[in-house]
């Protein structure tokens, strides 16, 4: 595991995975089947069903990105579908514009409202966000039903059909083509997005913002961006819906519709693009069958299928939170990243001369209410040096660490990184100046490959926008970033694990991956939060060897640690904190026999 030999960067293609060929064939057959359906003499009912499945799939795809991957729940997507539908209905009827123009009117209206709502609500985390989405979803529903110009609860009808180059796409088979083409393009775009720099950042949102911010991601803006993307997908669905039905009314855009989208999301597989189609298909088919079956069972008319929907949702969440995708997904090809061996290297920071003071902490303080958790701490870290920060429980080490890394603003004192004041700055600005960190509780994206996790570290070293990512115009920069990640993985000795999902690694290996990710930030200073915690003896050994080598290459390292043996053997200089104050500093030998330190750890003799 500690091999440093560089194995050739062989492009690992899907062909090396057993059964990959037949999986590709299966996927291809599915696509062909889907494309050929309207040409076959199947009953119109099937085509109509398929059309609705496609419309729902578009909305659910947005939810996959927003809720499944970024972790932001929305119970209000149906309202955005409504905006798209009403925009086109109103404009085609009142102004006589072509549907192709009103599509963009709808997208514009939806985009603006999503941006507004998103900016207000995305700051809310945990449970406030879904509540806000419910609120505005209902508000919009009633607005749709109350405005005279939109036909109130009867809505608008007699909409024109979409025309393309002289062809009338009014028939359901023609619409099938348009709808499923949209679904296909959107899915392709979503897959592209997820396989890129912004995609990795979106995935990082799921577990909370701290790690993403430390990697340089502007999480607030990114959340709004994903929210707008989901809304735009819903808007397209609304446009298609309006011109399929040739009429709009508020009912399909209310809270119940939004909730059904969430059920489809959960049923299909929350974080899988394919899950959108799967969930929409299964739930639509189920709904149809139930609408026929249940009234017979219950002996009266009425939408009883909601009972089943509700039960399905509850049972899924309890027993199969991954949805149906895991059962189906094994038949389809998996994505593999082929590392491009020759890519242009990313710009590197100029190396810092050994011995230069990288980090200067002067008199830093932190007050929580009446409690002074950190009381005037000084410490320095030089390039080519490992400094350990130790102290008994409750000494204020973690707080000091958070003050340096920008997680908390200090109440007093200053922190300088290579001469620049960083106290009170945001974590992402600090990381741009050359500081990278790891976390006490490993924060990796479990179902993403090790390589991509490490590539997240290079976030601030390249720029790729969402549009470029969706259109797959980022391949060269992507190759550079992946190459950088691969190099970092070689450095920590885990190159052969690069394609495994990060969650499948042992804890010791995960900590090394976090260090690789930090190295990808190209830092001058590395801050490690209890890197040895939970490691077995041989893993600690490997970690110590790696850190010594990094130090010898000129990196400055500050680590907070409890494991005394590890600290004593590895560090050059130790700072000891007790009750928020520094009580001693010096070499390990000095600290081990320092009376004040012994008393702090073992306790005063009674």
């Amino acid at each position: 595991m500690t091999q440093k030999s560089v194995s050739p960067a062989a492009p690992v293609g899907a062909s090396s995975v057993p059964g990959a060929g037949s999986r590709r064939l299966a996927a291809g057959a599915l696509v062909l089947l889907a494309a050929a359906l309207p040409l076959a003499p199947v009953p119109d009912l099937f085509i109509t069903q398929a059309n609705y499945v496609g419309l729902y799939a578009l909305v659910v795809l947005g939810l996959v990105l927003l809720t499944g991957i970024a972790g932001l729940t929305s119970f209000g997507q149906a309202a955005f579908v409504g905006i798209g539908a009403y925009a086109t209905a109103y404009c085609t009827l009142t102004f006589g514009w072509s549907p192709w123009i009103t599509l963009f009117v709808g997208l514009g209206a939806t985009g603006v409202s999503a941006w507004l709502i998103g900016t207000i609500t995305m700051r809310m985390s945990g449970h406030y966000l879904p509540l806000a989405t419910i609120a505005w979803s209902i508000a919009l529903y009633y607005l749709f039903g109350s405005v005279e110009a939109l036909g109130k609860y009867d809505g608008l009808s007699d909409l024109p059909s979409i025309g393309l180059l002289g062809w009338d796409l009014g028939g359901s088979r023609a619409m099938y083509a348009l709808i499923w083409l949209s679904v296909g393009l959107s899915a392709w775009g979503a897959l592209n997005l997820l396989d890129s720099r912004p995609g990795r950042a979106i995935r990082a949102l799921h577990g909370g913002v701290q790690m993403a911010e430390a990697m340089g991601v502007d999480t607030a803006r990114l959340k709004v961006t994903v929210f707008v993307i989901a809304a735009l997908l819903a808007s397209v669905s609304g446009w298609l819906f309006a011109h399929l039905q040739r009429a709009v009314n508020p009912t399909p855009f209310g809270l119940e519709a939004s909730l059904k989208y969430v059920i489809m999301l959960v049923a299909g597989g929350m974080s899988q693009v394919g899950g959108a189609v799967l969930g929409s298909s299964v739930m639509t088919l189920l709904q149809d069958q139930l609408q026929v079956l249940l009234p017979r069972v219950f002996g009266s008319a009425g939408n009883f299928e909601v009972i089943v929907f509700g039960l399905v949702l509850v049972l899924l969440l309890r027993f199969a939170p991954g949805g149906m995708w895991p059962a189906v997904g094994r038949w389809l090809p998996t994505r593999r990243i082929a590392v491009v061996p020759e890519a242009k290297a990313l710009a590197r920071r100029t190396p810092v001369p050994a011995g230069e003071v990288l980090l200067q902490v002067r008199g830093v303080q932190k007050r929580f209410g009446g409690l002074l958790a950190v009381d005037g701490v000084d410490l320095n870290v030089k390039a080519g040096e490992i400094v350990g920060l130790i102290g008994p429980n409750g000494a204020g080490k973690s707080t000091t660490f958070n003050l340096i890394t920008g997680v908390l603003p200090p109440s007093g004192g200053e922190v300088q990184l290579r001469g620049q004041r960083i106290d009170g700055q945001a974590a992402r600005d600090i990381s741009r100046l050359g500081l990278a960190r790891t976390f006490q509780h490993v924060k990796l994206i479990a179902d993403m490959s090790v390589l991509e996790n490490v590539a997240l570290g290079a976030y601030q070293r390249a720029r790729v926008g969402v549009v470029a990512a969706v259109l797959r115009r980022d391949r060269r920069i992507e190759a550079s970033m992946l190459q950088e990640a691969q190099r970092a993985l070689h450095r920590v000795g885990l190159a052969e694990l690069m394609h495994r999902p990060a969650g499948s690694l042992a804890l010791g290996q995960q900590r090394l991956v976090e260090i690789a990710r930090a190295l990808c930030c190209d830092p001058a200073l590395l801050l490690l939060d209890e890197p040895a915690a939970g490691l077995r003896a041989f893993e600690k050994q490997a970690l110590a060897v790696l850190l010594s080598e990094l130090r010898d290459e000129g990196m400055g390292i500050l680590l907070v640690e409890h494991d005394m043996e590890f600290v004593m053997k590895l560090t050059d200089h130790i700072v000891v904190m007790v009750f928020g104050r520094k009580i001693a500093e010096g070499s390990p030998q000095v600290i081990q026999t320092h009376p004040a330190v012994l008393e702090a750890y073992l306790g005063a003799a009674p």
Binding site: R123, S125, Y142, F298, E305, L313
Partner: protein, 345 residues
């Protein structure tokens, strides 16, 4: 009618509905603070209470009885199986008492009482009595096995529960809407000022219930235990206050409050099987005013909503609902700035 009288009437109206929202908001905050469940199905307790009363009024036996028996039997069976599996057969007696005999007796009472046309007050009591046990049974069947799930998963589960309950409501009570006679017909005269009788009942019940809850939480050990569970779940566990206890008790209170609201508004508003969603959601808006934590602000928010609703209903009736729900956004925004985002998930 001059504008003062009109204003007074609207305020009265607003305070009445506000009292209902306040009660529901309190129930939602209680359940959330103790169990972290955002209980989307609270409105269904209201409709079940109202419709059970309507059925009794019509001399019919309400289907609620079947629901109670079914849930009690399933829950009882699960408990019995667990007791046997853990080698504690002594618990079976207690289980039989709580899950078989008590619901059985209540159902028998209902069967006897339904065709007899008992006085309205007694029928109200019966309705509340039969809906209240549905709360802890629901908790036991659905939420207790998921006690460690995240707030989000619990919320989505509640959405599922809402759908199931609404559908069951449709099955048991049909699509028709019902109104029951007022508990207090006529008006209370304060000088020249006429106050609607049912409105007085609603307000009186709301105030009474809030006082009762304050007493229970402030002076009984079980009430304090519930507050403790809301304050610090780990600390409560370490004192022997089990998660099951606090969950079931808070759901019992929530169901009681819901049923009570149901019988109070049944004379004022026509109730359908799906009326619960909107009523529950307005209770939510009140709870959000309180940040899902403060009872005082919940009450304030509820009265605000009631009054805003009354006035917008009069002035711009089409937009009434939109206005109420749009109000939530600035409140949530303000709360999130004050509270700050947390990494909790």
């Amino acid at each position: 009618m001059n504008s003062f009288e009109l204003g007074a009437l609207l305020v009265q109206d607003g305070v009445t509905t506000g009292a209902i929202y306040a009660l529901l908001g309190v129930a939602l905050v209680l359940v959330f603070s103790v169990t972290r469940i955002i209980f989307f199905g609270q409105g269904e307790f209201v409709t079940f209470g109202a419709l059970t009363l309507a059925w009794l009024q019509a001399g019919q036996m309400p289907g609620t009885v079947w629901l109670l028996l079914a849930m009690a039997l399933i829950a009882g069976a699960l408990e019995a199986w667990a007791a046997l599996r853990e080698g504690q057969p002594r618990r079976l007696a207690r289980i039989a008492l709580y899950y078989l005999m008590a619901p059985g007796a209540l159902s028998a009472l209902m069967v006897w009482a339904a065709p007899r046309g008992l006085p309205l007050v007694l029928q109200c009591l019966l309705s509340v009595a039969i809906v209240t046990p549905l709360g802890p049974l629901l908790y036991r069947l659905i939420y207790r096995p998921m006690a460690n799930a995240s707030v989000l998963v619990l919320l989505i589960t509640s959405v599922g529960v809402h759908f199931v309950l609404a559908g069951i409501g449709l099955w048991l009570f049909g699509v028709e809407g019902y109104r029951t006679p007022a508990l207090w017909e006529g008006d209370l005269m304060l000088g020249n000022w006429a106050i609607n009788g049912q409105g007085v009942m609603v307000l009186g019940a709301a105030v009474g219930l809030i006082v009762l809850l304050a007493l229970v939480f402030g002076y009984t050990l079980s009430g304090k235990a519930l507050r403790a569970a809301a304050s610090n779940a780990t600390g409560a566990k370490l004192l022997g206050i089990s998660v099951a206890f606090s969950g079931q008790m808070s759901f019992a209170i929530a169901a009681f409050i819901g049923a009570l609201c149901g019988i109070l508004i049944a004379p004022i508003v026509t109730i359908y099987y799906d009326s619960g969603l909107l009523i529950g959601l307005k209770g939510f808006v009140a709870a959000i005013f309180g940040g899902m934590a403060s009872y005082g602000f919940t009450l304030l928010g509820a009265v605000t909503i009631g009054i805003v609703e009354a006035f917008s209903s009069f002035l711009a009736s089409a937009y009434k609902e939109s206005i109420v729900f749009l109000l939530v956004i600035p409140v949530l925004w303000w709360l999130s700035r004050r509270g700050g985002a947390s990494e909790e998930h």
